[in-house]
C-alpha cells in the first residue's frame, strides 16, 4: 500500500470538519472495502481518519412504531444476528448473510457496506484500461468489453457498472432513509436518492458531499416487512457477488397480494426498484404464476442489456417471481 497517515476521530463534529477541509482524507471503519481499493490503487487517500470509536453509532434499535434504526458502525454480523431484525425484517438479515464471508461480516459496517465501490473488474484492477470511475474522462472499457456482470438498467455511455451491496437492495425495497450528519447539521436522505445513476459523472456513487458522515439507516414500519425475502443468484453458491438478486416484501389478504415492494441488485448502478410491477401486482394471487409473470414483466420494458448480459433480463424476472412466492409463504 502507498504511505498514508492515520489518526483516530475523537468526536463526530471534528471528524466532519476534517473531512470537509481535506479532500485527501478518507474515513475508515471496517476497512474491508477501503483497504482493498487502496491495495488495488483505485483510491489513494493521504490520510485515514479512524471513526470506530465515535460514540453511539453502533447501536441497533427496534423502534416502538415497528421500524428499525441501525447505527452506521453496527457490524454486518451483529445486525444479521439481531433478533428483532430477523423477526421484523427477515429480508435485511438475509441480504446481510448472503454477502461476503463470516470474517468480513464481523468487520464490515452498515455505513461502509452501502458505500462500497463497484466490483467492475475494469475499475478494480484496470490501471491501464479506461474507467471513468477510476480516472474520469478515460472512457468505459466495459461498454464494449466483457460486460456479463454489468447493468441492464440505467447505464450511460460513461459507465455500465453495477452496485455490489446486497443489503442496500433490501433498504431500497423498504424505503429506508440514510441519516447523515454534515457541515450544516443532520439530514435524512430517502434511500432511492442516496445512490446515483452514472450519467456523465460515474465517479460519484452517492449523494454524499465532503464532510458528510452516515450516522444511521432508518427503516419505517411497513405492513410488508415480516413477509420478506432476499434471493441471490450467483456463479458460486456462497461468498460471491450477485449476478441478480431480489429483495421482496409483500402484504397479503389470504393468498392475494395487497401490496408488494420489489428491488433488484446486480442490474444497475444503484438498487433498482420495480415501480411498474409494484403497481401491477396488487389483487393477483401468489399461486397464479401465469398472472404474476406479466405483472413483473411490466418493469422490464425499459431494460437495455449489453452484449454479454441479455440473460439477466429473463433471470431477474424469475428471481423476482421466486422471491415473491417465498416471501408470500411467510405472510
Amino acid at each position: 500500500m502507498h504511505p498514508f497517515s492515520l489518526s483516530r476521530a475523537g468526536d463526530a463534529a471534528s471528524a466532519i470538519a476534517a473531512h470537509a477541509q481535506d479532500a485527501t482524507l478518507a474515513f475508515i471503519a471496517g476497512g474491508t472495502d477501503l483497504l482493498g481499493l487502496i491495495k488495488d490503487r483505485a483510491v489513494l487517500p493521504q490520510h485515514l481518519l479512524d471513526i470506530n470509536s465515535l460514540p453511539d453509532l453502533a447501536r441497533i434499535e427496534a423502534l416502538s412504531d415497528g421500524g428499525l434504526r441501525i447505527g452506521a458502525l453496527a457490524r454486518m454480523s451483529d445486525v444479521a444476528a439481531h433478533a428483532e431484525v430477523r423477526r421484523r425484517l427477515p429480508v435485511v438479515a438475509e441480504a446481510l448473510l448472503f454477502a461476503a464471508s463470516g470474517q468480513l461480516r464481523n468487520m464490515a459496517t452498515i455505513g461502509g457496506n452501502i458505500l462500497q465501490r463497484t466490483r467492475c473488474p475494469y475499475f478494480r484492477d484496470g490501471d491501464d484500461l479506461p474507467c471513468n470511475k477510476r480516472r474520469p474522462g478515460s472512457g468505459c472499457a466495459a461498454l464494449e468489453g466483457l460486460n456479463r456482470s454489468h447493468a441492464i438498467f440505467g447505464w450511460s455511455q460513461a459507465c455500465v457498472a453495477t452496485h455490489a451491496s446486497d443489503v442496500a437492495v433490501a433498504f431500497a425495497a423498504l424505503d429506508a432513509r440514510v441519516i447523515v450528519r454534515g457541515r450544516d447539521g443532520q439530514r435524512s436522505i430517502p434511500f432511492a436518492d442516496f445512490h446515483r445513476l452514472p450519467g456523465d459523472t460515474p465517479e460519484r456513487d452517492t449523494a454524499l458531499e465532503r464532510g458528510d458522515l452516515i450516522v444511521a439507516i432508518e427503516m419505517p414500519a411497513a405492513q410488508e416487512g415480516r413477509a420478506s425475502h432476499y434471493l441471490k443468484v450467483r456463479d458460486r453458491q456462497s461468498y460471491e457477488f450477485a449476478l441478480v438478486s431480489a429483495a421482496v416484501a409483500v402484504a397479503t389478504d389470504g393468498r392475494r397480494i395487497r401490496s408488494a415492494r420489489l428491488a433488484l441488485g446486480g442490474v444497475a448502478h444503484k438498487p433498482w426498484r420495480l415501480a411498474a410491477a409494484e403497481r401491477a401486482l396488487p389483487g393477483l394471487s401468489l399461486d397464479d404464476a401465469e398472472a404474476l409473470k406479466p405483472a413483473i414483466a411490466t418493469s422490464f420494458a425499459d431494460s437495455r442489456p449489453l452484449a454479454h448480459n441479455a440473460f439477466k433480463v429473463e433471470l431477474a424476472q424469475r428471481v423476482v417471481l421466486r422471491a415473491l412466492q417465498t416471501a408470500g409463504g411467510r405472510a
Binding site: M1, H2, P3, F4, S5, L6, T24, I28, G31, T32, L35, G36, K39, D40, R41, L44, Q46, L48, D50, N52, S77, A80, A81, R86, R87, P90, A93, E94, L97, F98, A100, S101, G102, Q103, L104, N106, M107, D125, D127, D128, R226, Q237, S238, Y239, R330
Partner: protein, 190 residues
C-alpha cells in the same frame, strides 16, 4: 506494457512516509508494545513484527481466508485491517490455541479427519472453524438457514450450515469434505 504498480503522481513519496505509531496489543495472552507504520496490516505486523508466521498471507485481498485470526474473540481477516487500528485489543492466532502442550479440540479434529494436505490454508481454516462453532452456539443464523426469523441453536449446525459458514476459507487442495467432518465432530464434542 505499462507497469501496473507505477505510483500515481499525487502519492507521497516513500521518503515522506508517516512515522511508525506505537500500539499495545495482547497476542496469545502476551502483552506487546510495538511500533507500526500506519499502512501495516495486522497480518504483516503478526508475521514480520512478532514473528508469528502461523498466520498465512494468501491473496492479501480478503478473498481466501488464510489470514484469519481472532480479535476480541471474533474471526476477522488480518490482511484487511490495519495493525495501528488494533490498539488495546486482544488477538489470538493459531499459535495461541494449544494449552499446556495439548492441541485445541478443533486442531485435534483436523488431524483426526485428515482435514488438510499442503497445510497452507489450515491455520485460517482452524481459526475460522473455532469461531463458526461459537457463532452457532450464540444462535447466529447463516445463508443456509431456512428461516432466519426462527431461533438457531448449535443442534442446527448441519453439514450444509458448516459449508456455508466456512465459505470464506478456500482450500486449493480441496480437503473440504474432511474439513466439514472435522468441524462437525468438534462441534459435537464442545
Amino acid at each position: 506494457m505499462t507497469s501496473r504498480t507505477k505510483p500515481a503522481p499525487n502519492v507521497p513519496s516513500e521518503a515522506l512516509r508517516p512515522a511508525p505509531m506505537p500500539i499495545k496489543v495482547v497476542v496469545n495472552g502476551q502483552p506487546w508494545t510495538i511500533a507500526v507504520e500506519p499502512r501495516t496490516t495486522l497480518l504483516e505486523a503478526l508475521r514480520e513484527g512478532l514473528a508469528l508466521s502461523g498466520t498465512k498471507k494468501g491473496c492479501d485481498r480478503g478473498e481466501c481466508g488464510a489470514c484469519t485470526v481472532h480479535v476480541e474473540g471474533r474471526r476477522v481477516l488480518s490482511c484487511m485491517t490495519l495493525a495501528a487500528m488494533q490498539d488495546g485489543r486482544r488477538i489470538t492466532t493459531v499459535e495461541g490455541l494449544a494449552q499446556d502442550g495439548r492441541l485445541h479440540p478443533v486442531q485435534a479434529a483436523f488431524i483426526e479427519h485428515d482435514g488438510f494436505q499442503c497445510g497452507f490454508c489450515t491455520s485460517g481454516q482452524i481459526m475460522s472453524a473455532i469461531a463458526v462453532i461459537e457463532e452457532a452456539k450464540a444462535g447466529w443464523p447463516s445463508a443456509a438457514t431456512e428461516d432466519v426469523a426462527r431461533p438457531f441453536t448449535a443442534a442446527n449446525l448441519t453439514d450444509s450450515e458448516i459449508r456455508e459458514r466456512m465459505s470464506g476459507n478456500l482450500c486449493r487442495c480441496a480437503c473440504y469434505p474432511n474439513i466439514v467432518d472435522a468441524i462437525a465432530d468438534a462441534a459435537k464434542g464442545g
